[in-house]
Symmetry: C2
Subunit: 146 residues, 2 copies
Amino acid sequence: MEQRVSLITLGVSDVSRAVGFYRRLGWQGREVEETVFFQLGGLGLVLWGHDRLADDAGLDRSEPTGFRGVALAHNVRERDEVDAVMAEAQRAGGAVVRTPTETFYGGYAGYFADLDGHVWEVAYNPGFPLGDDGSLTIPDFEEAGQ
Amino acid sequence: MEQRVSLITLGVSDVSRAVGFYRRLGWQGREVEETVFFQLGGLGLVLWGHDRLADDAGLDRSEPTGFRGVALAHNVRERDEVDAVMAEAQRAGGAVVRTPTETFYGGYAGYFADLDGHVWEVAYNPGFPLGDDGSLTIPDFEEAGQ
């Protein structure tokens, strides 16, 4: 199995409602058969009905009541951008689940949830370089002296 | 908020145990402070303790009992690779949650779960081109006539 991921699919209760949140963030997606695909670098983020996703995977349709145990991170280049993106997410209808604070790794980060409770971290991490295209490179922690 | 994702963090009950599964798939990661980072193209997949992730996000530690409502997809270039990757995941200790079948979009796909119940789809989708570097491009569905 090659070391890569092609799609991240988030199960949502109502695709039209769910996509509104991401569109209000300025994201542009493509829709087909009540499924919305957003191109994020070399992969796609997909919004699909929770029940359809559960059925497709042959899993129980019951929705998790609390934390799903998964977080997506959106890293930014400057510390100030964390507050700006968190505010943007809140204006778009997202819920702030943790206001931004200093992090143990010398950064600054907060968390918000989209309309279906999918959790995003917005993080400024000076140890994780971002390329011009937004791609993230995992550092060599041994060289970094950590 | 730029249209991109930097990290996918999967909460796991035991990082050492969880990383074993991905290492048995041949994946190579970097570990620091009981956190493992795998470089997947322009982003990172992170294995981190479920409770630490929940605490970091300020969310309840309770783990979802059923489907988490999130699926990661690993698309392959040839139909036969689906069965091969599914078998590899099973040998590595993963659970087959849906044996591969023909899909409604003219492809072929199955699902497995890692040791913590995080669900991966292994899919052959002839309508979603993969680049030489494994990157996926969302097609223009209107042009494709769908």
